[in-house]
Subunit: 224 residues, 2 copies
DNA sequence: ACAAAAGTGTTTTCTATACACCCATGG
DNA sequence: CCATGGGTGTATAGAAAACACTTTTGT
């Protein structure tokens, strides 16, 4: 059988820093859409699976180390790529703040973080892909604790709260939010505090992944 | 660029009849896995999108008219197909009981419904695909009213209940279930009854799709 | 008349929400 | 000492869950 369908992967990678949720974009070097911003991604090689392809492309194009990766959707419209029939498997990913600084490795000078509310025009159907990824992320944080994946290993509780208020675009009652979070027992309060500028120093917390997997196995679902 | 990756689509189609949830399988005519049972599906043609490919394959192989179709996941492991590198976009679908009778059209004699608990050995990684589809369906009926898609236009309430108890594999309190369902106002009670064998005749209900879309737009979420 | 399935309300428990003041630090 | 952000508890309302008997038909 003759096959003229090409397969690519694309990633919508979210990062959090200082109260802002950003997405990682790369500037295209070649046609089509030369010099336009696009999601990192590219053609899948014959001897790698889809996750390997994504990780290779991310590392080649951005140098970012991904922390959480999940398949999003496969886009197969006929005219989505001017080069011909290209089907793309999209992923969405989260990175921790320490990965937020783009390393100057490889082609990193062509990668940049953009605030999710002020994206430039995107190549191909990447706007549509981004939109779906954002909706997925917004939905997902309400029933799975992936908010942690955007934070450092140790974080003050207020950072977690900020991830939620920023993504859900609404205020959250701090007391109720903490009550619910703590009742799940997936957060460990550490004997450590940080003081960021003025104000009372904040206790640091860490995410107890073991406890989370146990809960998940028992079928108990997180819900905000 | 040379591309030796092939793209297929596969469908996990569920049907409901007489208290049983079944899946549609086809018997393979050719190698590999000749004579083994497999999910309906096949290669995507260059001039059709993914949904068109699935619908074409389903109609060619089974003659079944699909009622609800949703993309499930894309499977891209290296060794999933002995013919070489084949990536498959899997869908899951639901059919109404009137589509349950397999038409003798096309290759229909090679298609058959199997109870979800007693599937034969499946070709390729189709077992894995099926498992994911079943989990998705089980999760999905708890937050979207897709249970209706498995029933006729008019149905007794007990049929809906049976779909839920069968899929969720647990008993449901009939009064509480009805209360919740009716409070959503997506069910219209008709001035019509049916009597199935012995017992009190049941009122028929229909699903109010318009009302459902309105609710969805308003962000109100169904939850069982 | 009895077996079989449909239909129907109330009480209790739990969870979600609303809400305001004190605490610890840096400047 | 004051500005800034962190930390905490209770009361109310609404939703979920538990629970059993009556109705209508076919045989």
């Amino acid at each position: 059988m003759e096959n003229t369908i090409q397969l690519t992967v694309d990633a919508v990678v979210f990062g959090y820093e200082a109260g802002n949720i950003s997405v990682l974009l790369v500037k295209r070097k070649y046609e089509p859409y030369q010099n336009a911003w696009a999601l990192p991604g590219g053609f899948v090689l014959e001897n790698e699976n889809l996750e390997q392809a994504i990780e290779r492309e991310l590392s080649e194009e951005t140098g970012v180390k991904i922390n959480y990766l999940e398949q999003l959707y496969t886009f197969g419209d006929l005219a989505r790529d001017p080069r011909g029939r290209v089907v793309s498997v999209a992923y969405f990913g989260l990175v921790k703040p320490n990965a937020f600084q783009l390393q100057a490795s490889t082609d990193a000078e062509l990668a940049e973080w953009f605030h999710i509310d002020t994206l430039p025009k995107l190549a191909f159907d990447h706007k549509k892909i981004f939109k779906m990824a954002l909706e997925r992320l917004q939905a997902k944080i309400t029933y799975e604790p992936i908010g942690f994946e955007l934070l450092d290993k140790k974080f003050p509780f207020s950072d977690l709260e900020k991830v939620y208020t920023t993504l859900l675009r609404r205020e959250i009652d701090r007391r109720n939010f903490k009550k619910k979070m703590m009742s799940l027992k997936v957060l460990d309060e550490l004997d450590e505090k940080i003081s960021i500028g003025r104000g009372r120093p904040a206790s640091l917390f860490s995410f107890n992944q073991q406890r989370y997997f146990q809960l998940k196995k028992e079928g108990i679902i997180f819900e905000i």
